[in-house]
């Protein structure tokens, strides 16, 4: 399991859901108790600023932000509250922890804690004591848990065969599973990074809506996020490829057997199986998101 550095925020108040929904790319104001949804916060140019994991708790909303590097999302939420809206914003970083559990035998681990994996799904949070769990896929479970109980929870998972890993082991693991992080998505269009499912054009206006609508009706994304593999070493940033021009590597790691990278490549390149980057040969494949 990996304890994330996600900023956690709690929204409360009669107008909190409407206030939040105005900023997001999808509908959330109809969420019911313990319902889980994900949505995007974009700028007026339609570029992703943050991806949010939401948990509705009896009229309040727990917001798990992917962007741990700055406070932009919270500032957007705070600055957008109208004078006559009842919205309370509370920071929960010192109260709640977010962790991700991954593996092929998650069910075996969780059953040791008394949790039936079959009861978890992607649409709802399941209560386990004071913690909330949800299954993103058959191999990925997200949990949010009171910080005071994190130690016991980690210990219980460890006893049942799920070890805690840190950043250096998390990167190759999450990349092999197609789990994106903020550096992969920030500043890109949702369609470029496989996040189209979180854009609901029928929702009405939201920051970036005009761009997304125009793309939907008139064009396609010019870039796509793909997986690169090579025996050489990747470096993040813009790179030159003799075959396809400039690409941008957003994440990279050494898996022990080869190097792995997520890269934004021109759309015409996604049919290729191999490209050359700075003299290094790399295979190219689509990202299989969990």
């Amino acid at each position: 399991m990996y304890v994330r550095s996600s900023p956690l925020t709690v929204l409360d108040g009669a107008d909190s859901l409407n206030n939040l929904e105005r900023c997001l790319t999808s509908v959330i104001s109809d969420m019911t108790h313990l319902e889980r949804r994900e949505s995007l916060l974009c700028n007026s140019n339609g570029r992703v600023l943050d991806k949010l994991l939401l948990a509705a708790i009896e009229g309040q909303m727990i917001i798990v932000s992917y962007d741990g590097s700055n406070d932009q999302t919270r500032q957007i939420l705070l600055n957008g509250v109208a004078w006559n809206e009842e919205v309370t914003v509370t920071y929960a970083d010192d109260a709640i922890s977010h962790l991700t559990i991954v593996g092929q035998n998650i069910g075996r681990v969780l059953v040791g804690l008394g949790i039936e994996f079959e009861e978890l799904n992607k649409s709802n949070w399941t209560e386990f004591g004071n913690a909330l769990l949800t299954a993103t896929s058959s191999e990925v479970v997200e949990a949010i848990i009171p910080k005071g109980e994190l130690g016991h929870f980690i210990e219980a998972l460890d006893i049942n065969g799920c070890s805690r890993i840190h950043e250096d082991a998390w990167q190759p693991l999450r990349m092999s599973l197609g789990i994106l992080e903020i550096n992969d998505i920030y500043g890109n269009l949702p369609s470029e990074v496989g996040l189209d499912e979180y854009v609901v054009l029928s929702k009405g206006c939201y920051p970036g809506q005009e761009i997304h609508a125009r793309l939907d009706s008139r064009g396609t994304a010019s870039k796509k996020l793909v997986v690169l593999r090579s025996v050489g070493n990747f470096e993040c940033g813009k790179k030159a490829s003799d075959d396809i021009g400039t690409i941008r590597i957003t994440s990279c790691c050494d898996t022990g057997t080869d190097s792995l990278a997520f890269a934004l490549v021109p759309i015409r390149a996604i049919e290729l199986e191999m490209i050359s980057i700075d003299g290094m040969q790399a295979t190219l494949e689509p990202i299989n998101h969990p």
Binding site: N19, S44, V81, W83, A95, A131
Partner: protein
């Protein structure tokens, strides 16, 4: 106890905003339209112009005629007998705007021209 019942939550956080003296212009057609909308309630009611998050460009304009809240959170402008209130938190976003009114079948109604906005959306209701 539940996920939200423990310790460590911050106190409610508020946005720090810069407050400036808001200057707002109204065209003659806008003044007439507002007077018509107030229908004689000008003595007890005010026009509140505000900004909130949302819209294609980041913020949405909002205008409401409400009973005078009579509190210090607002800046008050008197424009040809119309009391116009702007909340202090919106003053920086809204200063310099001109409120116009277009009486057309398509795209008519109140329109706000904002020389300080970096961008506006096609319908004119959003700015950023």
């Amino acid at each position: 106890m539940g996920i939200l019942g423990g310790e460590g939550f911050s106190l409610p956080v508020v946005a720090e905003v810069e407050v400036v003296d808001a200057h707002i212009e109204f065209t003659e057609t806008a003044k007439k339209a507002i007077n018509d909308a107030m229908s004689g309630d000008g003595g007890s009611h005010v026009l509140v112009i505000s900004a909130q998050s949302g819209g294609c460009s980041g913020y949405l304009y909002d205008m409401k005629i409400i009973e005078d809240p009579e509190n210090d959170d607002f800046q008050r402008l008197e424009i040809d007998g119309i009391s116009v209130l702007v909340h202090k938190k919106d003053s920086l976003l809204l200063t310099g705007i001109t409120v116009d009114y277009k009486d057309t079948l398509m795209g008519g109604g109140f329109q706000i021209l904002n020389p300080n906005a970096d961008r506006t959306c096609g319908c004119g209701q959003s700015f950023g």
